[in-house]
Subunit: 206 residues, 2 copies
DNA sequence: TTATTGACCATTTGTAAAACTTAGTCAATA
DNA sequence: TATTGACTAAGTTTTACAAATGGTCAATAA
């Protein structure tokens, strides 16, 4: 008779425990043994679900990225009025979701900076999909006559991502110094920046 | 009888020597003694003109910043046609000048990243003046009827700086990976980004 | 028979002391 | 009085060692 599994959702529990401990003590200072102890399982069991410690971190980050992605996807599939407005609002919402998740998990600014730069290169796919979603919005905007058909392409999507880089972490802005980026400040900035992106200086109303 | 000065422009020569050596070996790996040796003067003489090593670095960086600032200033004072176009072209030019100076002096990407982040906080004034110059362009654009009078203010200038952050060093962009930022790539990006900034998605023609 | 475990190994990381480097000073010198 | 380079204090690298931890696997439990 085979030994029955004691936990059916162990991988899930490991993710949850890791997320809490990484958030509390940081990635480096949390050991696999701590995670196992937290769940009252053996250290070896963690390696039945994940091949490396980094794999756990990536899974956590992948979920954050996916959640933020889903905001875009959902908004793109439920456009009622102006597609351009929908893109603006979807970006605004994902900016704030990103902020909330990041400020919950990463406590020191350096950790955020390091992680962001380190990790970004591991999330190529994420950026490719984001670009495709933006192109989706642009196509709908072109159909609705809001923008020129010729600019509903990858190039424009890339520029949009560039323009909105500062409102995503790490928040490396130079307009204010020694001022921490509060939720309110970021929201105000993002809102204005996105309005400017849509209307341009020529038609921007503030 | 007092000993006569052997060098009248020693400070200037130190700056030049430091610029060359910092560029070749990096700031940390260049010692004050090396700089002195390079000019065949005593180590102590360097300290007659500069109180610290860092002061030399700051002076070099201050000159770069000023040169880039001057492009803006000159363009602002010689607007013939559209002020908005002038702002666009002034920014484009300063982006490229910045690139050229930075790629000449900093050889490794890490050095650039580190220096940029480290130094930015020491150049508050630079950003304040840049903001003022941008407000200058906005005021002229408002006078010319190109933009609404209400948006010719500091807030808008801040957003413009945010939007253009990615085309200034450190070039932390995520649209391409493993692709070094070449001069041509940056020029194309900056040009498109600035057109989009002026016209907005609604009126952007690519 | 198979899921689980924790002792075990190899590598990394932390630490403490010694050796070395260098920014900045200042009494001696030109 | 302008300049210097030996000197000092502070910091950095090196080295040697100890502790911690990521990952494996033979033994164990169901």
């Amino acid at each position: 008779m085979a030994r029955p599994k004691t936990l059916t959702n162990r991988a899930e529990l490991i993710i949850e425990a890791a997320e809490e401990l990484f958030g509390r003590y940081g990635y480096e200072r949390t050991s696999i043994e701590e995670i196992a102890k937290h769940l009252s399982i053996g250290k070896g069991s963690v390696y039945l679900d994940f091949r490396t410690k980094q794999e756990i971190l990536f899974e956590i980050l992948r979920r954050h990225a996916t959640a933020i992605q889903d905001i875009f996807k959902e908004r793109l599939n439920n456009i009622s009025g102006s597609p351009l407005d929908a893109l603006r609002k979807a970006t605004e919402e994902s900016v704030m979701t990103c902020y909330d998740r990041v400020s919950r998990d990463f406590h020191t600014p350096e950790a955020l900076l390091h992680t962001s730069l380190e990790m970004k290169s591991h999330f190529k796919d994420f950026y490719v999909r984001k670009r495709e979603l933006i192109i989706g919005f642009l196509n709908k905007a072109a159909d609705a006559g809001e923008i020129k058909k010729e600019i509903a392409n990858e190039e424009t999507a890339k520029i949009i991502i560039m323009v909105t880089t500062t409102i995503f972490p790490p928040y490396l802005n130079c307009t204010e110094f020694n001022t921490p980026v509060t939720r309110e400040l970021l929201q105000a900035r993002a809102s204005k920046l996105l309005l400017l992106l849509v209307n341009g200086l020529r038609h921007y109303k503030g």
